[in-house]
Every structure is written in C-alpha cells, then in structure tokens.
C-alpha cells in the first residue's frame, strides 16, 4: 500500500478512536450505544499495538529476530517446541483469560460505566500489555525461567522469596473469592447447582475417554464433552421442575461452600487426567466459544448501555464494595487492565514455544489487548441492565435489606428505578426464584449475557441462556480453582522442601495430602468467612484479591525495570517504571485505606471495632451475634494480611532501587543473566 494512504488510514483510526472515547466520556444522555465502546476499544488497541508495542520491541527491548529462541536451541519435541505464532497466541490467551476480567468490570460498574472502561483501555495499553510483553521477552532471553527465578537472579534472594510468597498469597485469595462467586451463583438455585454438579461426572467421563477409550483424541472427546455440558444445562431446567429432585440441589451458601472445599481438595490430590485435564479442555472450549459468541451478539444487537457514566458511589458509599473511585476502581478492575498473574504465564510455559523473538510483540502485547477486550464486553454486559436491576442483583442483603420490598425501597432511594414485580418477572424469566443479593458479578453478568444472547439469537430461551452463562462461568472458575490449588500445592512443597527434603517430593503421597490440605484450608477459610458474612464477603475478598494481584504485577514490573537499568537502558526505564509507579501508588493507597480508614465499610480495623461494640452493646440478632466473633477475627486477619502484602511489595521495590542505584553509581551488581547469542537457523514455522 502507498505510504501516504497508510498514514491517512492511521490518522483516520486515531480520529475515530478519539471521537469514540470522547463520546463515551462526555455522554450524559439516557443511554449510549455499546458500539461506541467497541469502536473506542478497537481503535485504541490498533494504535497502541501498531505504534507503542512496535516501539517497545525495537527500541526498548531490542528484539532480535536473528537470535535463536530457547524453543529452537533446546527443542526436545515436548516442552521446548518452536511453534507457529498463531498457535502460541491461542495457548497464551487461553491461559491468561480467566474469570477475573469478567467479574472485575462487573463489580466496577457500580461507579458507572466510565471509570472502569477508561481504566480497562488505558491500563491495558500502557500497563498490562507492557508487563506481559516485557516479562515474556525477559523469560525468553533466559530459557523460560519463571518470574520468581528471574527476581532471584536479577534482584537477589529477597526479591525471589517475596515473589514466591506473593504468588502463593494471591493464589489463596483468588481461589477463595472465585469459590465465593460460584457459591453465590448456586445459592438456592437448583438449576444452577445441578448443572455445575453435573460438570464433574462429565469431566471424569471425558478424562477416562481421553486416557483409555481413545487415548489422546482430544478434539472428539472435548466436542463430546461440550454436547454433554449443553445437555446438562437443559437437564438442570428439567430437574428444576421436579419437586422431589429439586430439593436435593436447593441449598444455603454454607453447605455449597463445604461442597466446593471438598471438591477442591479432591481435585488437588486426584491424578490430573481424571478431573483437572478434561475439565480444562472443556472450559477452554467453552471460554473461547462463549467469548466469540458474546462479541458476535454485541455487534449484531448493538445494545444500549443504560448505566450512567458516573454514579454517586464514586464517593465510596457503593453497595457492592466500599471505597472511593480512587484507588478502588483500579483495584477492582484488576485483571482486565493489568494482572500480575499473567507474568507467571509469560514466564515459564509460553517462552518455551516461541519460534522467533519477533512473535513476542503479538503474543505478549496482543493477547493482553484481547483480554482487555473481554473486560470491555463484560462491562457492556453489566451496564446494558437497568441500573436498578444491576444494583438489586449485586447489592448484598446486609446493605439493602433482606426482603424484596426493603431492598427495592433502598435502591429507589438512591435514584435507580426498579420494582419488586420487575425483579420477580426477571427471576421467573431466568428460571430462578429470586435474583436479589446475588453478589459476585456472575449472576448479573449472566443476566446481561442472557438478554444479549436471547435478543440476538431468538427470544424465549432466556432461562437456558442464563444457566448456560452460569455454567460457563462456573466451569472455568472451577478450573482455575483446581489448577490454582495444585499450583499452590507445588509451591508450598517447594518451600517445605527447604525445611524437610521429604516434604518437597511432589510424588510422596503423605506430603501431597499434607500440602494440599494446607492450601485448601487456606482458601477454604476465606471462603467460609465470605459465606457467613452478611455483607456478602465479596466486599472484603475482591479488594484483597485486587491488592494482591496488582502487587504481583508491581513485582513483575520491578524485575523488568531493574533489568532495563542494569542493561544500560535507563532512558527507557520509564516504560515499565511509569506503570510500576502508578501501581505502587494505587496499591499502597488502597492498602492504607483498608487498614486505617474509619469508615466501617472500608477499614478492616474500623469494621472489627464497630462489630465488637455492637456485640458488646447487645444490639445484634442472635444469628448475627453467633458469627460476630469469627467476623471480628477475620477483619483483624485481613488487616494484617494487607500489611503483609504491602510490606512484601515495598521490600521488592527497595531491593529494585538498591540494585538500580548501585548499578548507576558504578558499584558491582549481579550481572544480567541473559543466555548468549546464537543465530537462528529456523525458517518459517508452519501451523
């Protein structure tokens, strides 16, 4: 194409993007079409990818396409395999895209659509995608070493240990909050519960099929599994109408949480082929399929976003979680904009597949843009609901009141119209008895998705689509739960191995049982507390998860910044340094507020003191008084945990600054541990 035409095209994209972002930001009308969001996102991504990521690749990282990658040098046909970049992209995206970018934006919608949307766009192009790409590059230059190993090599043992502890902590909190989301979606919903339960025998059957009946026939087994899952959704609807069967699956939060805990422990100690691997195949298919379906449906339907740009809850009085716009919108959106967890994927598995360094840009930067797009779609699905309905579904009973009339009155008093009949109607359409107080993001996202799907692909299937969406979310939340428990167990065994070598053996069964039990007890505790908490638990756990996740991202950016400085690229250190600085400000402010804020809905200590006072004064109902001591203890624990996170973060930052200053003032530091240059001899790798 002619150079002038190309330039004109980019100018056009820039104008279109700026117009769309401006339109979203300035719109104060009744509603705004979702296509504005899609246009803004696509233009921002296109420009960021074409210019910023290319500049980072050539000027900052000095990506060298003549250099052989670890996959080429160490090719063993197993884990190190030079792979076509589209395949690596698929693997990498499937690995990084979890339930986080679906839940975070849904919760952040309580501030209105604007803050979350802007952060999903800006955070991804300047922060998240940069972090993923830089980490992928650094790990590729180090034979696919993990983030923890790189932190140890480049910063020192303290940085290494901090990264390891940070990873384990985020894993525990993440699993607990995801477990809570699933429990809240299944609570007193026989349809949802029976469908989710059915996914377990389906996974075991597919596991047996892939291992014994037709070894390695992954595709046919997965397709069979997907058909069975769809039948399970339909079957759940049938069970819901059988009075006898219905009762078996109709439960309170607590027994469901116990079920999730027992399941998590079983999944961690059973061989992977039985539950984990087949469930993962199914969830990957469901995930990619549903995301594509959602994108198609949104483009076909072009729904109107009804949430205002900003709500009054930017002041911190929001019903879903307490805390003002700054810093909590950043903590809440988390994975859709920047996720520390991605650094674990970008270091480790993916670098061992890269055929050429030039693919790093597309895989590292590009995958994160796609993830950010998923977050934008989740934001759309949450905000196409009437705001009153959105708040009715997501506000915990402890905030708006236990019965429907009180809840509706509270929400109306905020200025959002909703009626009891409207909610009853909606629940009936979705095949549920009630949709009130289903905090956690999954049910409101499912309602949003169901209304988009049924409008785009034919009315009358609302209940099916709702439970399809619940099943889809549950399947890959449970996959993350299984996988996370197992990874947590490996990490714990690795640490315990330093104390007693026997405990470090990943195949010694007593050690497997012991360390799995410890990990499950860790997240099981937080899940249990979340379930008994009348304010829904998400209020506490999601910010804690967000802080931990952003802390891990900051650690990854610390490693990247230190390496840029050590390798003489100080003038470009801002590329990772700037998002790092922002994350440090955000996480430290959020942690500070969670610890010292006198607002009982934000500060952990304030909440504990408030509850103690109420308990002592005897103003609690017997039911509340029974769980109060546990909630008080938990608030204290959460406060200490937050302090611990922030201490870990600052230790790594100070370590990074120490190494950088020593380096800049000419003192000796550990040398940059890049593998030596070997020229590539690999041609184009076929798909």
């Amino acid at each position: 194409m002619n150079k002038t035409i190309k330039q004109a095209l980019w100018v056009l994209i820039a104008i279109l993007g700026a117009g769309a972002v401006g339109g979203i930001a300035l719109n104060r009308g009744e509603s705004i079409n979702a296509m504005w969001f899609i246009t803004a996102a696509l233009c921002v991504y296109a420009i960021a990818y074409r210019f910023y990521s290319a500049w980072i690749a050539t000027k900052v990282l000095l990506v060298d396409e003549t250099r052989a990658t670890p996959a080429e040098r160490l090719d063993n046909g197993r884990d190190y395999v030079p792979t076509n970049r589209w395949i690596v992209f698929g693997h990498h995206f499937a690995a990084i895209a979890g339930p986080g970018p679906l839940i975070g934006p849904t919760l952040a919608a309580q501030f209105g659509y604007l803050p979350g949307t802007l952060w999903i766009l800006i955070g991804a192009v300047l922060g998240g995608a940069v972090q993923d790409m830089v980490t992928l590059f650094l790990s590729t230059r180090r034979n696919g070493r993990s983030l923890g190993q790189m932190a140890r090599d480049e910063l020192g043992p303290i940085g290494g240990i901090a990264a390891l502890i940070g990873t384990l902590a985020i894993m525990i909190i993440l699993i607990a909050v995801l477990g809570l989301v699933v429990v809240n979606a299944m609570k007193h919903s026989p349809w949802a519960t029976s469908t989710v339960v059915a996914t377990i025998p389906i996974a075991v059957f597919i596991g047996l099929y892939m291992r014994n009946i037709r070894p390695g026939k992954v595709l046919e087994a997965s397709l069979l599994g997907v058909v069975l899952l769809l039948l399970a959704v339909a079957g759940g609807g049938w069970i819901d109408h059988q009075p006898g069967l219905r009762a078996i699956f109709d439960h309170d939060g607590l027994p469901l949480a116990v079920g999730v805990i027992v399941y998590g422990f079983a999944a961690a100690i059973l061989p992977v082929w039985m539950l984990l691997a087949p469930r993962d195949y199914l969830s990957t298919f469901m995930k990619l399929g549903t995301i594509m379906l959602l994108a198609v449906a949104i483009i076909l339907l072009q729904p109107e976003v009804k949430m205002p740009a900003l709500t009054q809850f930017t002041d911190g009085s929001g019903p879903i979680f307490g805390g003002a716009l700054f810093p909590f919108v950043f903590i809440t959106v988390a994975c859709g904009a920047i996720s520390g967890f991605h650094a674990l994927i970008a270091s480790g598995t993916t670098p061992k597949l890269l055929a050429n360094e030039r693919d790093i840009r597309m895989i590292g930067y590009g995958s994160m843009l796609l993830e950010s797009f998923v977050a934008i779609m989740a934001m759309i699905a949450a905000t196409v609901l009437d705001p009153g309905v959105f708040f009715a579904i997501n506000s915990p009973a402890g905030v708006v009141g236990r019965d429907a009339a009180t809840a509706v009155a509270t929400i109306n008093s905020w200025g959002f119209a909703v009626t009891v009949e409207q909610m009853e109607n909606l629940a009936r359409q979705m095949g549920e008895t009630t949709l009130f107080a289903r905090t956690g993001g999954a049910p409101s996202l499912a309602v949003g998705m169901a209304s988009i799907f049924s409008s785009a692909f034919g009315q009358g299937m609302l209940a099916f689509w709702y439970h399809f969406a619940i099943m889809f979310e549950a399947v890959f939340i449970l996959t993350t739960l299984d996988a996370g428990t197992r990874v947590g167990r490996f990490m714990l065994q690795d640490m315990l191995g330093n104390i007693s070598p026997r405990l470090g053996e990943t195949s010694w069964y007593p050690s497997v049982l012991f360390s799995s039990a410890l990990v499950v007890a860790g997240w099981g505790y937080f899940l249990y507390i979340g379930v008994i908490d009348p304010n829904g638990g998400v209020n506490i756990l999601w910010p804690l998860f967000g802080i931990a996740n952003q802390m891990l991202a900051a650690i990854a950016l610390c490693v990247g910044t230190a390496i840029l400085i050590k390798s003489g690229r100080l003038k470009y250190a801002w590329v990772t340094g700037f998002p790092l600085l922002w994350l440090v400000v955000v996480t430290t402010t959020a942690a500070w507020q969670k610890i010292v804020s006198p607002d009982v809905r934000i500060g952990f200590f304030a909440a504990a003191d408030d509850l103690s006072a109420k308990l002592a004064a005897g103003v609690l109902t017997p039911e509340q008084a029974k769980v109060a001591p546990q909630l008080i203890f938990n608030q204290h624990l959460d406060a200490w945990l937050t302090m611990f996170f922030i201490a870990v973060l600052w230790i790594v930052i100070l370590d990074m600054l120490r190494v950088s200053f020593r380096n800049l003032s000419g003192k000796p530091v550990s040398s940059v541990t890049e593998t030596p240059y070997v020229p590539t001899r690999l041609g184009k790798v076929q798909a």
Partner: protein
C-alpha cells in the same frame, strides 16, 4: 480449491491448538532427532505419551484469573 486449502489450514490450527495432534508431532520429532543416535530411548506409545503429556501440562501455573 482455495476454500479447501483454508478449511484444511483451519482444521490443522484447531488440532494443533487443542493438542489433538501432539502425539503425531512427538513421533515426527522422534524420527527426526533420534535416527542419528546409537542407542535411542524407546519411542513412547500413544497411551504412554499422553500420560506424560497431561502430567507435564499441569506441572506449573497454566491458568490465570
């Protein structure tokens, strides 16, 4: 002709992405890299290969939030 070609490419892409062809790729790699060896390790059967493949796949963080 073009359509057939694209369909074929698409199918290969899906098989590769899902790991459906992992054993075939292992065998091809084995043939390429072991023919010059004096005492090559025995080639895994399809069943043995998949046991290893699945264990290995789950031996580290491979799923995110």
């Amino acid at each position: 002709m073009n359509l057939v070609h694209w369909g074929h490419l698409c199918w290969r892409f899906i098989r590769r992405l899902s790991g459906d062809d992992a054993y075939e790729r292992y065998v091809a790699h084995y043939r390429d890299s072991h023919e010059t060896m004096l005492n090559p390790p025995p080639m895994l059967t399809r069943r043995e290969f998949y046991r290893w493949y699945q264990e290995d796949k789950w031996n580290g963080p491979n799923r995110c939030c």
